[in-house]
Structure formats: structure tokens, C-alpha cells
Symmetry: C2
Subunit: 221 residues, 2 copies
């Protein structure tokens, strides 16, 4: 496997690939870090976000990675598989938040559950910002994109259901349509993809608490 | 000027072109409405949003419009001018909201001023949803995009200043960084581009009030 220096990437933070393909062991050359599978994916997501998926060819990817196309095919079958893996990263993490919530057996109120999901979702968006940014931009131009949009809609529905439960038990205001509350609430959460960067000095836990506090209590002093 | 039937467009609502080029009079053929300048722009924005600007050629545009390329050049100099006009529509409208605010001479508090700007911005996003959607997606791939990003940043700074003034006079909470409040607040407003559609039965004034009410008072009952 070719091994070349990693580029400086101001956006993405290194993170474990939450995909079905395990990261391959790194091979050192001249003492510099090499490209493992997770790094190829991370850089591909960054390129897709900068140039747009449709505007990125395998040639572009090879150039940005400093790899030959055949070296990329050593990691994945092609551009579409990279997109699928890239989108799955954020989708899998958000799905985990909901599953975590559904496994809870304590007697937390609907409001506490909703707040917890908002905090955890905001943390996921901070940790997987590049993947979720890509996810929020897909337009359904291929089966992979359509499938990601279906998974996103399913997640949105489950989030909206948590809002409805909290409206039903009287803990969330009922003067605004629960669907609209859900859209605005997660619109605020999703805005993290627009401005949150791990290198800007914001701690992701502090940001997630700020999101929930602002959403639940409002910005009035 | 060629005159062909307009396509059904579920997203964009017809609106006056807020650009320096006046709409040309429509010319009827077989009793169906023709393409005026504003309609060419509206459909171009829709195509850019669906296919991505970089993924749209003048040939694609001509096909979608059902016009020859030379008929499009009758309206604009080229694809980049269409992009500039498309982005200006939302930027001009948002700038107007701030100018409107700055012209106010009453003794409204910083909080009232901020709330008013939030409501008016939400109304602008509803009215110019396709243009603002395009604006939020530009990546700076050309001078036109970079210029739009500069204008957007300038607007963001002026909005953030209104938040800071309200924090300074004690009406907005000071336990969260004002910059973060501003980003989350306008992140919520901007989410309208993701889900607001004039044909979904939400009145834009009701939505704008809901945004402000949720942002200022929070979602707790």
C-alpha cells in the first residue's frame, strides 16, 4: 500500500471509521504517517465537501490524495462506495443516539429524553462534522444518495416523535406545531455543520450544552 | 424572445426579480404564459439547486428551460451572470432587512430590534427560499461565489452585532458566547431553506413568528 504524507486538514478531525471495513495497519515510509483506509475516507469526504461529489472525479481524488487510482481501488470499489461509506458514518452515529435512547430503562421524562437526544446529536455533529455536512447536501442524484436521504428522513421522524411525546405530556409548548418545533430545533443542531470546527477553540461538550440550553430555555436573559 | 409554457415548479414561488434588470414584458403564444427575464432566473436557480451550479452547463439550462442557448443569452451574458443575479436576490433582501433596522428612529430596545430582524430575516428566507438555499451552498469556487460569501459574512457580522448589543444591555443571556448565540439563532432561521415550502400550508408570517418565539422563549411549555 502506498504511503505518503498526510495533508494538513483544517476541517476534519481524525476519527475512527465507523464502517464495516476495518482500518488497515499503517506502513511507515521515511518515518512519515501513511494513508490507511480511514484517512482515504476522511480526505475523500473533505474533497467531496469542497468540490461537490458530482464535481469530483476519481482522477481528482487521486490527485488530492497523491495516490494512483489503482491505489485508491485497493481501498474501495469506486467513488460511489466512498460516498456510501462517507454518508454512513454520520447516519450510523445519529442512529446510535436514537438506539441509545430507546434502550434507556430509567424513568426519565419525555423532556429529559428529548434534551438528551439533542445534546448527543450535537456531539455527533461536532465529531462527524464533515460526514454530516456531506449528508445535508445530497440531492438524491443516485441510489446511494436516495438511500441516505431515506435514512435521514427516518431519523428525522424518530426525532420528531420525541418532540411530539414531550408536547403530549405537557412539557414542551403546544402553541407551535410539533413538526415545526422539531424542524427548527434540529435546524439549529444541524447548523453546527456550518460553523463548528474543532480547531476554533469550542469544546464540543460545551457547544452541545449551549445548543440544548438555548433551544429549551430561549435566548432571553 | 421565445415564449414557451412554464414548467410546474413545486419549490419556487413567483416573485419580483430584485435585480438591476427589469422584468421584460411577457409575450403570449397560443395563449400560454411566456418566459420573461424573472422566470428564466427563477428556473435557473431551481436547476442550480437540483443539479449543483458546477454540474449545470448552459446546455443543461437550455434543455430545462426549453430554450436555445442563444435565447438564454438574450437575457444574460452567461451562466456566471445567472449565478451572480441568483445569489444577489437573497443577499439584497437580507441587506434590506438590516438597512430597514438601521433607519429606525424609535426607542426600541436592543432585544426588540434583534427580534424584529429575526422575524424579517425568516420572512425573507421564506420569500426567497431558492436563492438563499443556493447562497448557503456556495463553496467559493469562483469570484462570483467568493463575492457572495463576503457579502454573506458581512451580513452575519451585522446580525451578530445586534446580538452583542442585546447581551450588553442585559436583555439576552450572557452565559453563552454571543457569537455562538448568533450562529445558533441564525442557524435556526437558515434551516427554513431546508424545509419551508410555500405550498406546504405554512403561512410565512406564522412561521417567522414561530421562529422568533422559539428562539427567544425556548421550547419548554
Amino acid at each position: 500500500m502506498p504511503s505518503i504524507p498526510q495533508s494538513e486538514d483544517p476541517v476534519a478531525e481524525p476519527q475512527a471509521a465507523e464502517t464495516q471495513v476495518a482500518a488497515r495497519p499503517q506502513k511507515a515510509r521515511r518515518g512519515r504517517p501513511g494513508y490507511d483506509y480511514a484517512t482515504v475516507l476522511r480526505i475523500a469526504i473533505d474533497v467531496f465537501n469542497r468540490r461537490g461529489y458530482d464535481g469530483t472525479s476519481m482522477d481528482d481524488l487521486a490527485k488530492e490524495l497523491g495516490l494512483s487510482k489503482s491505489a485508491i481501488y485497493h481501498h474501495v470499489h469506486g467513488k460511489e462506495e466512498l460516498l456510501r461509506l462517507a454518508l454512513s458514518e454520520g447516519l450510523d452515529a445519529l442512529t446510535s443516539v436514537l438506539e441509545e435512547e430507546e434502550r434507556r430503562t430509567d424513568d426519565a421524562s419525555a423532556l429529559e429524553r428529548l434534551r438528551h437526544v439533542v445534546v448527543r446529536s450535537a456531539e455527533v455533529l461536532s465529531a462527524h462534522q464533515p460526514s454530516v455536512t456531506l449528508l445535508l447536501r445530497v440531492r438524491g442524484n443516485s441510489e446511494v444518495e436516495l438511500d441516505a436521504m431515506r435514512r435521514r428522513r427516518e431519523i428525522d421522524h424518530r426525532m420528531a416523535r420525541l418532540v411530539s411525546l414531550a408536547v403530549d405530556d405537557g412539557s414542551v409548548r403546544s402553541d407551535i406545531d410539533p413538526t415545526m418545533i422539531s424542524r427548527l430545533l434540529f435546524g439549529m443542531v444541524n447548523s453546527l455543520t456550518e460553523w463548528y470546527r474543532p480547531d476554533r477553540g469550542y469544546d464540543s461538550k460545551v457547544v452541545a450544552e449551549a445548543v440544548a440550553s438555548l433551544a429549551f430555555d430561549g435566548l432571553r436573559a
